[in-house]
């Protein structure tokens, strides 16, 4: 056990030295590391959000909203198709995950079904790879003349998946507009998006720009009917909706459903100040087709009011004084400089395909993060010193050697974490400090065994040799069981827990190497030099 072939010694030293080299970048700040030559390792550990401060938001695409919207479109399609063929129907309605309609003339049910079949042909949904097309709608006939168009589960899932993909694009654009460094935006499971933005002072602005769908439309206001009648319980005229603005108290408007131009046709939007009133406004520019549509609409409707609608509420409803042909305009409303800026960001980034709900939020302010790092450092240093002193008191020279192995161990853990680009979290620091305490366990096992062997009368070298070889099995068994716990912690845990599990697992592997191999190597060198006749422990 105490003989090392030359290549083995070389490999052991190489491993320890690379641990040292890989750890070094962490002692320098990021900017100076960037200026190093390429061949120098420069990877640093990434600090987790709990240490550097920042926001972690888990968003979920709202299935219900998506289904509802899809069903409303489907109902519209059914109505249009049946009218095209002058098929009379009653009870066109949405029921659960389906649209139902009763065809008045039972003999025409088959004709209607064939007509509607176009809605049930497999469609390919963009953004989804793999399965190219799915059957979104299934048509069944019941009661003789009732047609039921049900959304398939498969179709809904595809919609959700593509909504997630699209949302990630939009969110990325929006978050980048905030000008923060290195946001992480990724898919989580089938219908979730994880957004992590480090070093953000105010998570509220982040939430504000993620929380709204930002669906902007320009629609005509129906000025011919009376809003008051509708408020008194009358039905809005066909093709119009009753919408409110954001004033206090909210003002009602009857807005035509037909969309003149939508936010998708914007090419730019910027916050600005109105030169006359000095109020914050948003100036915008349409792309060519948007400019054409808007120009034509304003030409036809001079003197009438139109509404600028954002996510179902009216921002403003100016009267068209003259045709707007240049393709640019401005939105005024009761904005503050901040809300105008946020809205401009949202308009530039485009609308989300579906509503997103924040289902988990964890925000840590930069102050707490810095405090945690400081506390972690202090705890780590004090813990390490305590263990080091205790080992020297217990084992003398061998304690010093074990401490050398322990130092190598810590460097290897930090070095490995740096190379993996692992995120260091507060539980991660706890994991490292805990490893310091538990790492010496292997040394203790070996040393106690050496003592025992010496006590039964073996020579010093034979005792050391036997101590190492007999402790090996125990060290392996004990560490593999802990490793199993760490792996399971990693595979089932979330966020910070994973950080803890990673440091724990890496710690276990490096511990076995340092305590058993590196420490044995050190002791072998000592044995070769001193030729001891008694074990010094």
């Amino acid at each position: 056990m105490l003989h090392f072939a030359r290549w083995k010694s070389f490999l052991i030293l190489l491993t320890v030295i690379s641990g040292v080299v890989l750890t070094i970048p962490n002692f320098f700040d990021e900017d100076s590391v960037k200026s190093w030559p390429d061949w120098v390792p420069s990877k640093q550990m990434v600090l987790g959000l709990d240490l550097q401060g920042g926001s972690h938001l888990l968003l979920q695409v709202e299935r219900d909203g998506l289904v509802k919207e899809r069903l409303e479109t489907l109902r519209g399609d059914v109505r249009n198709l049946l009218r095209e063929d002058r098929l009379r129907y009653t009870n066109l309605a949405i029921a659960k995950q389906a649209v139902q309609v009763r065809i008045t003339d039972p003999t025409k049910v088959e004709q209607a079904r064939e007509k509607l079949q176009s809605l049930a042909t497999p469609v390919s949904l963009g953004f989804v790879t793999g399965q190219s097309s799915v059957n979104e709608v299934e048509i069944t006939v019941s009661d003789g003349n009732q047609l039921r168009l049900a959304l398939t589960e498969e179709g809904i899932l595809q919609r959700i998946r593509s909504a997630v993909t699209q949302s990630i694009e939009v969110i990325t654009k929006r978050v980048n507009e905030l000008g923060t460094t290195e946001p992480t935006i990724q898919r989580e499971g089938a219908d979730r998006i994880l957004v992590q933005v480090p070093g953000l002072d105010d998570p509220e602005s982040l939430k504000a720009i993620l929380g709204s769908t930002a669906k902007l439309t320009f629609q005509m206001v129906d000025a011919t009917s009376s809003v008051q009648d509708v408020l008194n319980g009358g039905r809005p005229p066909i093709g119009t909706d009753l919408l409110y603005d954001t004033e206090d108290p909210p003002q009602p408007y009857l807005v035509e459903r037909r969309v003149l131009v939508s936010g998708e046709e914007l090419s730019d939007a910027q916050p600005a100040f109105d030169q006359r009133t000095n109020e914050p406004i948003i100036t915008f520019r349409f792309n060519t087709s948007g400019a054409r549509k808007f120009g034509r609409a304003t030409q036809e409707n001079v003197g009438r009011p139109f509404a600028i609608v954002l996510d179902g509420s009216v921002i403003s409803a100016p009267v068209i004084r003259e045709p707007i042909l240049g393709g640019s305009g401005q939105i005024s409303g009761s904005f503050t400089a901040e809300t105008a800026n946020n809205l401009a960001i949202l308009l530039r980034a485009g609308a989300l395909p579906a509503e997103l709900t924040i289902i988990e939020e964890r925000t840590v302010g930069p102050g707490l993060g810095a405090d945690s790092i400081e506390a972690g450092k202090v705890a780590g240093i004090i813990g390490a010193v305590a263990v080091v002193v205790f080992m020297i008191l217990s084992y003398g020279l061998f304690g010093v050697l074990a401490n050398t192995a322990l130092a190598a161990n810590i460097l290897l853990i930090v070095g490995t974490l740096s190379v993996l680009g692992a995120t260091l979290t507060l539980p991660g620091i706890a994991g490292i400090v805990l490893t310091i305490g538990m790492a010496v366990d292997a040394n203790v096992l070996i040393y106690e065994r050496i003592r025992e062997e010496a006590r039964i009368g073996r020579s010093a070298i034979a005792s050391i040799d036997a101590g190492f070889s007999r402790a090996l099995g125990t060290i392996l068994d004990a560490n593999i069981t802990t490793l199993i716990a760490a792996v399971i912690l990693f595979s089932l845990g979330s966020g910070p827990i994973r950080g803890f599990a990673v440091t724990l697992a890496i710690g276990i592997v490096t511990t076995v190497f340092c305590a058993f191999t590196f420490n044995r190597f050190l002791i072998a060198q000592w044995v070769r030099m001193k030729r001891p006749t008694a074990v010094p422990i």
Partner: protein
Amino acid sequence: MIRLIPDDTAYKFMHHRRWSFPLSALLLVGSLVMFGINGLNLGIDFRGGTLIEIQTTDGPADIGNIRQAVGSLNFGDVEVQEFGSPTEVLIRVEQQDGGETAQQNVIAKVRQVLGEDNINYRRVEVVGPRVSGELTRTGIIAVLSALFAVLVYIWFRFEWQFAVGAVLATMHDVILTIGMFAVLQLDFNLASIAAILTIVGYSLNDTVVVYDRIRETLRKYKKRPLAELLDVAINQTLSRTVLTSVTTLLALGSLFFFGGEVIRSFTFAMIWGVFVGTYSSVFMAAPLLIFLKLRPQQLHDEEDGDTVGAGSV
């Protein structure tokens, strides 16, 4: 050099099972009863809700005032407590009815009522009902599957009695830890699950070391009574058991006193776990082998088939 444990101890540990078994049984029943009565003080990770940590910049925080201000918002159960220092306060608001958006409303309202002057919002966590349900499930699954995986591993490496003994001893530690959480009403959150799993790891580590030596001793002296052999094995590993506990406790103590408030309940649970884990390896895991009717001959039969040869001669 110091020796915490003298050489050649010969404590009669198996003798102590007369009181250690009833004591453990009592503690286990006590833990379960306290768990039944008090339940766990579940954090927002598992119960959903909002957690806000604030720091006042103009002297100590007035907890009473904050409690009243936040209480006036009618968010139901609100906890306000000092967190580490007089200027730091932890506010917890229970999960609101009305789904995910209702939770978001809480932060806005609390910030409104407490104002932004002289207050640092150091940490805000909101966990909605969907996520908290999932976290509870995966937490339980994680602990159970870790136990199961280890059971299989030890079964494979030792005899079934060792596997069952190790898992029973570990469950003993987990239940006592949960009991401690229930009695002291410490905040039970995701970090607590991590603590429990680490305790599982530590306790198993300890148990396996003792078991390894037991197996070795059983192979060496086939004729002597089991209880006697167990005593020999435990005494031989006693020095190591104590030393490792001490170094681990040194590291944990340092984390507990200097590591900051955020991980204090985590380290507290771990410290408790190290004590319980060490106790159970000596006083539970080993005597359980007698209880499970381990026969030294069983080991003898397959001695040669053991390849990795943990500690075997």
